[in-house]
Amino acid sequence: MGSWEIPVNEEEAIGVWVRDELSIWETKMKRIINDLKKYGKYVIYAGRSELKAEVANSYLNWLWWVIEPFCFMLVYAFVFGVIFDSQLQYFPIFIFIGITVWDFFNRMLKASVSSVKNSKAIVSKVYIPKYMLILVKGYVNGFKMLVSFAIVFGMILVWGVPITWKFLFIIPILLTLFVITFGVCTFLLHFGVYVDDLANVLNIFLRMMFYLTGIFYDLHAKVGAHFGTKVADWITELNPVAVMLASLRRVLLYGELPHYKWMIGWFLIGLVISWFGIRLIYKNENSYVKVI
């Protein structure tokens, strides 16, 4: 008790608090970097073998990574382009970009809810930081997304969309998408262990989000026509996937700059969510095995 140092004034108290926070920050950061170094190679190898296994099971499997989004694109293009008479420029590519991004987000979230249970064989035999499981999935689905983007570029050439330097924005946009998705997945991974039917709730939520993200229509314009521009702004900006999607379409199809303010905003939010998600996992991960 005698050794308690009572800070003399407020400034000093804040100084102590900042110092403590910084030292926690430093040790956690070191652990994350060490783990990434230690398990990074495992993540890449595991991701690669998963892709290989998918291909090996049936030789045409990798074709499905292309055929599936392509067929969905045809369906949406018919329903919304012909029946609902959408007048959007480059409509098939517009849809294809939407499906590509959505598939990544959707697959990642669904995989992470059950990832600890599905990896029971591994996590009950050896220690691995559990968010590495998300990174393995990120590698797998990221690769599929890139294959899909190759098709997008093919379509861009065929349709004769003007190619500009703004295409380069695709890199920060996809990076932001990855960070945000990873952050959300860390929390889903954690709660997926304890809540049995989280997957059901997630499914409903994802379906709702699917329609409210504007995969096959111009979200901002449609919402704007019904509820005014203010509401349209809110509904697009507060949905990170919609922000990324709109930005991708702007840079790839219409030669415009991305919504960079919201992109930077969501990138930072994504980092914060990931930070707390990783801390949550570190704190609890050794109890996961006791539950599953």
């Binding site: 073998s49 064989a121 009950s124 049995d196 109890s287």
Partner: protein
């Protein structure tokens, strides 16, 4: 000698309030499941010297496997501490950590990397592992096509050939056919002869523990009953179990 490889102090492992719950149940009943507390390992302390081979014996549910998992870093300790002095550790138990859709060869690399070895090192040892496992051409087939015996053979081969400094062995020496059993026992003996290796074996086979171990620990209801010379502890244990 005299240098400790494993130091366990006041280790407690509980299974508590960790039953998963579902939103459906919460909506229907309006409350969470009651908390349940079960002490699997109670206040256990011991130290193992480098190079020692310990047998751990006790009836089912006495906390042996839970303790091994805690030492391997898979379970968190709810109290106390485990110090491995920076040694590498691997746990070998029935039903191993393989990715079912991947081939045996890829699983060897993945398992090796998770144990902390580099990909190059695992590849170097690859032929030796495959040879020891006697899987032959099956090594290229997905692991889901393996029989349970093949599973265990592969798992044993990986840990035995890759040789971590501390090996925790849970019941697996009794798998496989007679031929493989004999072979793995011999391999164990040669591993054990290495002065730098520390081994903990959980088993119900009294003759085997007698043959392999330098010390035996008897656990009952999550507590240590006795640690001592294999012959004496095993004799008391078999009398107790009568």
């Amino acid at each position: 000698m005299g240098e400790y490889a494993i130091e366990v102090k006041n280790l407690c492992v509980d299974y508590k309030s960790l039953k998963s719950y579902s939103i459906k149940k919460m909506l229907l009943r309006g409350k969470r499941n009651e908390k349940e507390l079960f002490h699997a390992v109670k206040n256990v302390s011991f130290s193992v010297e480098k190079g020692e081979i310990w047998g751990i014996i006790g009836k089912n549910g006495s906390g042996k496997s839970t303790m091994l998992k805690a030492i391997a870093g898979i379970f968190s300790a709810d109290g106390g501490s485990i110090d491995l002095k920076g040694h590498s550790v691997s746990l070998l138990s029935i039903g191993v950590g393989f990715q079912k859709n991947l081939s045996g060869r890829e699983n060897i690399i993945l398992a090796g990397m998770l144990l902390g070895f580099s990909e190059a090192h695992v590849r170097e040892k690859m032929d030796e592992i495959i040879q020891f496992s006697e899987l032959g051409d099956f090594i290229e087939k997905p692991v889901r096509t393996y029989s349970s015996g093949m599973y265990s053979k592969l798992a044993f081969s990986i840990t035995a050939i890759l040789e971590t400094e501390i090996m925790l062995i849970d019941e697996v020496l009794s798998v496989g056919d007679e031929h493989f059993k004999k072979k793995s026992l011999n391999k164990m003996k040669s591993l054990i002869n290495d002065e730098n290796r520390t081994v903990l074996i959980v088993s119900h086979s009294i003759p085997m523990l007698k043959e392999l171990c330098t010390k035996v620990m008897w656990m009952h209801d999550g507590e240590i009953v006795k640690i001592g010379e294999p012959n004496q502890v095993l004799k008391e244990y078999s009398e107790f179990m009568k």
